[in-house]
């Protein structure tokens, strides 16, 4: 019996001769934040796609809370608690904020979807914008709405693909602190793909470094930051 919330075993995605992911094995415990870093094209977003069922695996397994979900579709995996946000803000522009969050909560099978949606909106400081059309929100608010849609239904695992992209320094800092608090309050584990190194090393429990579809380093933030291979491949000598 495993104690991991999420485990990937030898996950690979190949496109012909191109190995987008090549034997990726990761583990993540309950309430942990795993920061995933690496240069562009390293396969960070692809690993989220692989875990959430957006792209089929060439080989390997995805285990959620002890259950092999590798053969399940994206909808089933989401219902089992694998949730994600997207690199580009992905919301329902023509729908008011509260309506879409409540709809997501309803589809997650929450018995009181209105209350669940309200809790998420309060958590992300969106409740006062509940009747605003999503397309009328500011960019930072749209990012939070994106996160809200991922957070409804009390997921076990939240995968965030560059959630700080386009945010101001203050907004990034606030969101990072929010994420850290969320993991304990909502008992959710987070896989965070992010280019802001201060954020990743500041809030992650574990940092994993990707290069060319493979894991080149994995461990506590300080340990990874000191790894010469990581410094050479990604962080640079000044890190």
């Amino acid at each position: 019996m495993t104690s991991y919330v999420l485990e990937t075993r030898d996950v690979a995605i190949h496109y012909g001769g191109v190995k987008a992911l090549d034997g990726v094995s990761l583990t993540l415990g309950k309430g942990q934040i795993l920061g995933l870093i690496g240069p562009n094209g390293a396969g960070k977003s692809t690993v989220i796609d692989a875990i959430t069922g957006r792209r089929p695996l060439t080989r390997g397994q995805v285990i959620l809370d002890g259950q092999d979900v590798s053969q399940l579709g994206a909808v089933e995996r989401r219902r089992l608690g694998l949730s994600r946000s997207f690199q580009r803000t992905s919301i329902f522009g023509g729908m008011p904020v509260r309506k879409q969050v409540e709809l997501a909560s309803y589809k997650m099978g929450m018995s009181d979807s209105a209350a669940d949606a309200e809790a998420v909106l309060e958590e992300l400081d969106l409740a006062r914008l509940g009747n605003v059309m999503a397309e009328d929100l500011g960019y930072g608010e749209q990012r939070r709405l994106d996160l809200a849609l991922a957070l409804v239904g009390r997921p076990k695992m939240l995968m965030l693909d560059e959630p700080m992209a386009g945010l101001s320094v203050k907004e990034s800092h606030d969101l990072a602190q929010h994420l850290k608090a969320l993991t304990s309050r909502w008992e959710v584990s987070v896989l965070l793909v992010e280019h802001d190194m201060d954020v990743v090393f500041g809030i992650s429990d574990v940092v994993t470094v990707f290069e060319l579809g493979r894991v080149i380093a994995n461990g506590a933030p300080a340990q990874v930051r000191a790894d010469p291979r990581v410094r050479e491949a990604y962080l640079g000598s000044s890190a």
Binding site: R79, S90, F92, K99, Q100, L103, R128, D136, L149
Partner: protein, 326 residues
């Protein structure tokens, strides 16, 4: 808008229909009104598909014509009473469209339009070639019984009575569509239309809701087909032709597809143009075409969109925030 207010408006529309029926002096004009209302129902069906699925159909005449043919065949072969036949036909159209929809709604954009065109034209050819059953290119008479729902046909087909029937059907169908789109089903289909991928990642299975919208729009169009067959007592392959689908689509574009009422307005405008300009200009369609271009350029969301902008300012973020009460 609250549904109770919509019901009130529907009641007012019903009263207006009665007034039109009694105040219109000419039977031929009432006949034209009835035809316009039937096309309004047709356009409503096409508009619902565009509004909720974001998909453009070039083949909805399939369901308009199929309803008439199905009524004709069932009544000719005396399978059911006319009353039951109406429900059987609409149910059949719904099931058929749902099954077709499960396959074709997966195809995006213009490819979907081409598929609907192909399926519609297949039905057109089938009706033309099946002389034994459909009368081929000559069409077939629909043997409506002498009484329908307890009303004598001679009464039913009076221009004012017929107009009132189709007007009432339009109001009931519109109310049903508005109600349905306000349910959770409506929200789900909006979500799928706006962002299919995100919809999947909040746990929505995306194909079935789209197929259901396709079926719903087909049933609405089928209602128009049944009404048309009652009005004319005749059906021919022309009802299945792509140009009929095209006319309904033009009505939707002119009226505006973003509101449920838009396609109805488009149908009314189309028939007004036809009636007012048809007597003076042989090529009235060219003038209507110019009007269509003007609408697309100056009000892409159609007449309904323009009216909405005139009647109320945009629902601003400021007043939405104040209404949220948090």
């Amino acid at each position: 808008m609250r549904f109770s207010r919509i019901l009130m408006l529907a009641l007012l529309a019903l009263v207006a229909g009665v007034a039109i029926a009694f105040l219109t002096p000419s039977s031929s004009l009432l006949g034209l009104f009835a035809q316009a209302v039937i096309y309004a129902i047709f356009a409503l069906g096409v508009g619902v598909l565009l509004r909720q699925n974001g998909l453009t159909s070039f083949g909805h005449a399939l369901f308009f014509g199929a309803a008439g043919y199905a009524m004709g065949v069932i009544l000719t072969l005396d399978w059911f009473s006319a009353e039951i036949a109406i429900f059987v036909v609409l149910l059949g159209i719904g099931v058929l469209a749902f099954l077709i929809g499960l396959v074709i709604v997966r195809v995006p954009g213009i490819a979907f339009g081409m598929l609907t065109l192909a399926i519609g034209q297949m039905a057109y050819l089938l009706a033309t070639r099946s002389r034994g059953l459909t009368g081929g290119a000559d069409g077939m008479s629909i043997p409506w019984p002498s009484t329908l729902f307890g009303v004598k046909q001679s009464v039913l087909l009076k221009p004012d009575v017929l107009f009132l029937i189709v007007w009432t059907v339009l109001i009931v169908v519109t109310l049903a569509v508005v109600w349905l789109l306000r349910t959770r089903f409506g929200s789900i289909t909006e979500a799928v239309r706006d962002n299919e991928e995100r919809a999947r990642f909040i746990g929505i299975t995306t194909t079935v809701p789209r197929a259901l919208v396709y079926a719903m729009s087909a049933v609405v169009t089928g209602v128009a087909g049944v009404m048309s067959s009652l009005n004319t007592g005749f059906i021919s392959p022309e009802s299945l032709h792509w140009s009929v689908s095209g006319i309904a689509l033009v009505m939707v574009v002119v009226g505006g597809f973003k509101s449920v009422i838009g396609p109805i307005l488009g149908a009314i405008v189309y028939f007004l143009f036809k009636e007012l300009l048809g007597d003076f200009a042989t090529y009235w369609m060219a003038i209507f075409g110019a009007a269509l271009i003007a609408v697309i350029v100056f009000s892409p969301d159609g007449i309904a969109g323009a009216l909405e902008r005139l009647m109320k300012p945009r629902h601003t973020r400021a007043n939405a925030t104040s209404k949220s009460g948090h």
